[in-house]
Symmetry: C2
Subunit: 404 residues, 2 copies
């Protein structure tokens, strides 16, 4: 880690200047868990969003894609209902949420980003949400223990928040983010949401650049079951409240900012994978020695999404064959003779055939809860890393029996 | 079924004029099961092959791709060892098998198609195989109860053979095929092998045309776990021994031949899916109303390979949302407003939202061991059908614990 970037031990969104948040149990979730959260921004912020590539987009995604072009004053999230596949009525519900927020917080409704996650194909309980918004508007400045982060959870077993402080001789600012997991939602979707907040002073174009490159290497490089939901979205909001000299070009200060944002995004992405449904292992898959980034990425995802590979991780067996096979059918040009395959530092495959590796050594690596698979294609110098999980009986149980 | 195409009740490869087969337990498999089979052709046959698109191709695939260009006299298959990822030595082993067959059956070694399926990364036991070939050459004409079909099995729980007789006023010929399944091989690969034999008299180019179109709609339209192995191969062999007028153009006789070959290929493909590892359901996924075949196929495979969709089938719950979602991220242009989704004849989704379908009706369909999912994209008139299975705990058990 760069010495100028310092881990915040117990991060909270409020530590970033200009942001206030809270979360409550409004009654959307039948079990009484937290389900409604708001982050209120003291002043107009620049917002950046990356949205699901799924052609079927949930109503809040459609609204957020419009609103993100404006200056942003508030973020709304409800869990328990994704407001997806709800037609025009659902779209109007999302707009009305923005209007409720606008009224309760006295801001333009077009400056509100609405997000929803949970069951799809059901209308939102609008009265419940309206009451929730009024309630939360009264306690938005009260100290709370990351209740917002709690409110965005669905099948997540842990709250996911991570933050760093960037500190130089001349200035100091924070980058803190939270996320909810790609565990499948009761009962329908594998929604992944990420929100990153910063008070750094930075131009819109430079922040956008840092955001896109960071998300590509983090949220866009994880997989639990390969499905892309109708609601997946990641955001960065900048309050520009800190005391640093405005970042307006790709200088050293920019690099520091980008590094900080990427660190937060990567750690949140890792937390999502770690908490993937039924997952017992976090596996880093790096494909290197590729001709270009695109091919490295394609090969890495082919390995990371293979049911056979993921089941083999669960079985804790050194099944190099399934990995070589997944590289082979990934669609990239490659020759088995050039491929080298490692589990951590143990070489298992080269010259088109397995090495005489020691089974016990391989087994020791696979029994760990975190390990790395490296595939060297041997035809270039580009690489890409993807994080994945094992595929377990527990995954099947969660996803087969969700309504029972 | 065309009235001129008659199902053969207890098919055997020997019923096709010009072919003789047998299978034995040679000792490759430690458990003493059948593991070595040969089909011997009385005269030179035209052969057609489609091979795995995996860039990592097993040695026998490399040899077969060469030999298939020649006139063919024999087919060799061993199970229990895939001769894959075995480097140059493995390639030489495959060539030597052809030479052994050539010597024992007194035919050119370049007229032999060798195939292997089973564990990868291990050298073949060449002496065991040599002795097996000598033994089988002595009993190749003896009556046997499809021992060849038994010898090609790996984790298959059932022998897979299917055949039809084409009978008109003027002529009669047979099309009989056998296959082994895409269940994962102990311990490594999901190899799928298919062999179709016919005695129809047909030109090489017309037989090739029928073969390619049939395989595309059958073996290339099934999925168990989305992985493409290093050994997948399907073949058609024509002995030209029957009494029909040679088929040399796309006339009615050709259509009949194509229909017969496709019927055999489709039934074998279905049998493979039905017997997929851990599968409890066979699900037909048809995407229709597409702009073109390519998009229909892409969308159908997106649904059929989704872990979420397949787990939902296992859970027997009417999870239309996961299917709409899989269509949405399939990469084809589509609008949710145009999509209609059916389970058998029950409409679950239209106009961008779920219908008010009766849960009990949906549940009744999902509890069946076979049912159909139809997605109408509503933007064209092309369609494609894919067969898939549910994703079950048993799949995880088989594939996680294969060495324990």
């Amino acid at each position: 880690m760069n010495k100028k970037i310092i881990l915040i031990n117990n991060p909270a969104i409020e530590m970033v200047q200009g942001f206030h948040s809270n979360g409550i149990a409004s009654g959307i979730k039948k079990n009484g868990n937290h389900d409604l959260g708001v982050v209120f921004f003291d002043k107009e912020c620049d917002g950046f969003g990356m949205f699901t590539t799924n052609k079927v987009k949930a109503a809040p995604v459609l609204v957020s894609k419009k609103h993100i072009k404006n200056k942003i004053r508030a973020l709304f999230v409800n869990s328990g209902n994704a407001n997806s596949c709800t037609g025009e009525s659902g779209f109007n519900d999302a707009i009305n949420i923005c209007k409720e927020i606008g009224e309760s917080f006295n801001i333009p409704y077009t400056s509100v980003i609405p997000m929803s996650t949970g069951v799809i194909g059901q209308r939102l309980p609008t009265t419940v949400i309206k009451n929730g918004i009024i309630k939360i508007s009264k306690i938005i400045n009260e100290p709370n223990d990351n209740q917002f982060v709690k409110a965005i959870m669905t099948t997540d077993t842990k709250m996911k928040i991570y933050g760093v402080k960037v500190k130089t001789e001349n200035y100091e600012y924070s980058v803190i983010g939270c996320a909810k997991g790609s565990g499948m939602i009761h009962p329908n979707m594998a929604t992944m949401l990420g929100f990153i907040f910063s008070d750094a002073v930075i131009s819109k174009s430079m922040a956008n650049k840092a955001f896109r490159s960071s998300i590509d290497k983090s949220f866009n490089s994880i997989t639990v079951d390969g499905d892309t939901s109708t609601n997946d979205s990641v955001f960065l909001f900048n309050s520009n409240c800190a005391n640093n000299k405005p970042i307006t070009s790709s200088n050293a200060d920019y690099k520091l900012y980008e590094e900080a944002v990427q660190m937060v995004a990567s750690q949140l992405a890792r937390k999502i994978v770690e908490d993937g449904e039924g997952a017992t292992k976090l596996v880093e898959v790096e494909v290197k020695g590729a001709k270009n980034i695109k091919q490295a990425k394609q090969a890495a995802f082919s390995v990371a999404t293979s049911s056979l590979v993921k089941t083999a991780f669960y079985g804790e067996d050194a099944n190099w064959g399934r990995i070589v096979c997944a590289i082979g059918y990934s669609g990239i040009p490659c020759k088995p003779e050039n491929i080298k395959l490692y589990f951590d530092n143990l070489l298992l495959f080269k010259n088109g055939e397995p090495t005489t590796f020691n089974e016990a050594d391989a087994s020791k690596i696979l029994k760990k809860t975190e390990f790395k698979v490296t595939v060297d294609l041997g035809i270039g110098n580009k690489s890409w890393t993807v994080w994945t999980t094992d595929l377990t009986n527990e995954y099947i149980r969660i996803n087969a029996n969700y309504r029972s």
